[in-house]
Structure formats: C-alpha cells, structure tokens
Amino acid sequence: MKKWTLTLIVILTYLLQTSVIPEFSINGIYPNLFLVVTCGLSFLFGSTIGAVNGFCLGLLNDFSQGRCVGLYAFLSMYIGMILGQFNKRFFKDNYVVAIIFIGFATVFYEVVVYLFSMFAYSQEFSLLALVGKSLMIAFMNMIASVIVYPILLKIHIGIEVDRNIFGR
C-alpha cells in the first residue's frame, strides 16, 4: 500500500510539474513541485523515504531536462535525507513549520543549482538575479505547499491507519 501510494505520488508529481504547473508561471518562474513533494514526504515519513523519493523525483527531473544527469537527484536525495531528520522533532500537523522548512530548502536548492550552472556553463554571477529568483521560487513553493502539504499529510495518516488496523 505504502510503496504503491508513494510511486503514484511520484508519477503524479512528474505529470503535474511538467504539464500543468508551468501554466502558473509569473515572469517565467513557477513552483517546483518536485522539491515541495520531496520536502513534504521527508517531513512526514522520515529520512529513508525522503531520500528515496527525493532521489526518484530528482532523477525524473534530470531526465526530463535531458541535460546533466544526477544533479537534481543528488540534491533532492540529500535534502530529503536532511529534512527527514526533523521528522520526529516537530508535530507533523504543524503546517507552518513544514512550510518554513520548504522555503529554506528551496533557497538552498536554487543557490546550489545556480552556482553549479554558473561554473559549468560559464555564466556571469549576479547576486540580484540569484537572490531575487531564489526567493521568488521559495515564495511560490511555500504557496504551493499550503495546498500540497495537507494532501500529503492526509495520505500519511491514511497509510498509518491502514498499517495499524490491517497490519499492511
């Protein structure tokens, strides 16, 4: 049950991110559902599931871009693993903490991608563009997580109930 549900979440996230989410772009910037879901699942299910889902979503992101394979998988896996460490430290139904974590994770993620791309593709450094864009995406991801996190929380509760009652 848990494995199938998480696989379905990964597939749905991929479809929504590549085909639907770009329609909500503001100046070409739109939420990164891959990251929102990775952070949400890590926060709810812990490091192992966070890292595995982060790796899978990151790899799909890598393949969907057809560019440098491994960058997003690497980043998402570690973000999933690190955020999963906070799994038992906060109440899972505390949306505000989860959303703040997603905001911080987004800034970290975008800064690493920017710096990597700057060196890899000989781009000029612009602090204004980096800060502006990273904060904008973080803000959008936080807005997206207001919708996504409660859904993930309900799925988490459903899986826990299923496990406790039916032992699956």
Binding site: S19, N32, F63, G66, Q85, Y114, S126, K133
Partner: protein
C-alpha cells in the same frame, strides 16, 4: 544534529552519491541522443502529457482568442488595407519576375522549403528548473524530426531541437544558457551573437554579445539570424533591442534583446530543417 541512519543505509548513500557524481561529470556537456532511461521516460509519459496538455492548450487558445478579439478586428482592417497595397506590389513584382530567372529560382526554393520540411508540433511539457529553458514537443523521430532542426513561430525564432526520441523531442530555446545563435543587426548588417543568460531569462530577455563599440545599435533595432553559424538559416527574426550597455573596457558593448516570441504563450511551433552544421 546527528544523522540517524543504519550503517547499511549509510553505505548505500555513499555509493549512490559516488555514482551520481560520476554521472554528473560525464553528462555535464549537452548531448544529442537521449539515453536508455530518458527514451523510456519519453515513451511512457509523452502520450499522457499530450492528453494532459490538450485541454490546457484548448483553454489557453480560447482565452487568447477572446482577449484579442478587438485587436483582431483592428488588425483585420489594417491587413485588408495592407493586402490591397501588397497586391499592387505583387503585380509589379510579377512583371519584373517574368524577366528575372534568379528570382524565380528563389521562389521555387522557398516553396520547397515551406512544403517539404515543415513540421507542426505542440508543446507538451516544460522543464522544472527556473535557470534552464528547455521544453518538449509531441513530435519525434517517427514524424521526421531530427537534431538541430529549427523551431520557430510566425513571431520569430524559438530555438533548436537538441534531443530526439521516437515520439518526442527536446527544444532548447534561445533563452537557454547553452544556445548561442549567430545573428546580425538587420539595419547595419553587423554580425553579433545572441546567448541565453541565467540572470535575464526570467525577464524573457537574452544577451547580444560581440557588439563593437563603434557599431550603431539602438533600442528597437531588429536582430535576425545571420546564416553564418551553421544551423540557423539567414533572416529569421529573433527579436528587438531593449537596451544597449557599454562594456567596462569601452571597446565593446552588449545589449539586452527582447525575443519576438512570448515563451509563456507558446502552444504550437513549426520545425524546419537547419543548415545541417553546428552553430559556432
């Protein structure tokens, strides 16, 4: 904060990290052919993405149609006038064309170019990154799409095909950092290059490089492909100059270029054959 992971899992994380780092170092340069996993991903998801995008594209087209109705009415009036002027010009051209073999050859070439090699494709997905500008289309090798085909719309150049699977293809837009286009200033004929810039792409702008300080370049100047780079044929509209900036060395300047294409409103694109080389 201590990581609470069992030893076996820690070892797995280390192995996966090493594999990913090796993969990153080997795939950092753009490649033309998708790998096995990418082909599998495109094969499975392209039909689903096409279905998901269909209602979105229809709604977008309807919204655009209604919001631009007034514009279309004015445009129609203007085009009717322009049409009669153009008809007059065509009559003159036809008279001259009868005596001009070179013009006739050119016309034949144009007809061939338009009918035999043009493929219409729909955008089915966009990349998730805010820093790169790559999109997928619903036509692939089975439909005659090849690497380095030119992607455009009536409003101007979109980019080029960089990866092709059997059923879909990746288009690297001119906003992407990996896309360099050999261009020229239409007014003066001076050669320049356009390049995507991570710091400008969210504003929908790209950078015009290699502009000598004595080159006459002003805002609203038109930039088109030069045909010199090896891929893009000559004369495709790229965009107009938004701002000219003097380099600190004072020997060169660069400019911010506003593409003719609105990348946020792209639904359908046209693919034509390029010149067959590598853009340099």
């Amino acid at each position: 904060m201590k990581f609470k992971l069992p030893k076996s899992k820690k070892a797995l994380v280390v192995i996966v990290t090493i594999v990913l780092l090796i993969s990153i170092s080997f795939t950092i340069q753009p490649k033309e052919n998708p790998n096995f996993f990418e082909r599998g991903l495109y094969f499975v998801f392209t039909p689903i993405q096409t279905v998901v995008r269909w209602p979105i594209n229809k709604v977008k087209s309807s919204i655009t149609f209604f919001s631009e109705m007034k514009y279309y009415a004015e445009e129609n009036e203007r085009l009717t006038e322009e049409n009669s002027t153009l008809k007059e010009q065509i009559r003159k051209l036809e008279a001259a064309g009868a005596e001009n073999e070179e013009l006739r050859d050119l016309l034949n070439l144009r007809k061939k170019y338009e009918t035999e090699h043009a493929i219409v494709a729909e955008i089915i997905s966009y990349d998730a990154s805010a820093w790169f500008k790559v999109m997928s289309i619903n036509k692939g090798r089975n439909d005659g799409v090849n690497e380095n085909m030119i992607v455009l719309t009536p409003k101007g150049l979109v980019g080029k095909v960089t990866q092709v699977s059997d059923t879909s293809a990746k288009v690297t837009t001119i906003l992407d950092v990996n896309n360099v286009v050999s261009a020229r200033i239409t007014k003066t004929g001076d050669l320049v290059t356009t390049k995507g810039d991570m710091n400008l792409s969210e504003k929908g702008l790209l950078r015009l490089n290699y502009v000598m300080s004595d080159t006459l370049l002003n805002a609203d100047d038109v930039i088109e492909t030069s045909g010199m780079g090896g891929i893009y044929p000559k004369g495709i509209f790229i965009g107009t100059i938004k701002e000219v900036i003097q380099d600190s060395t004072l020997t060169r300047k660069y400019a911010l270029l506003e593409p003719g294409v609105d990348f946020n409103k792209l639904n359908e694109v046209l693919l034509i054959n390029g010149l067959g080389g590598e853009e340099s």
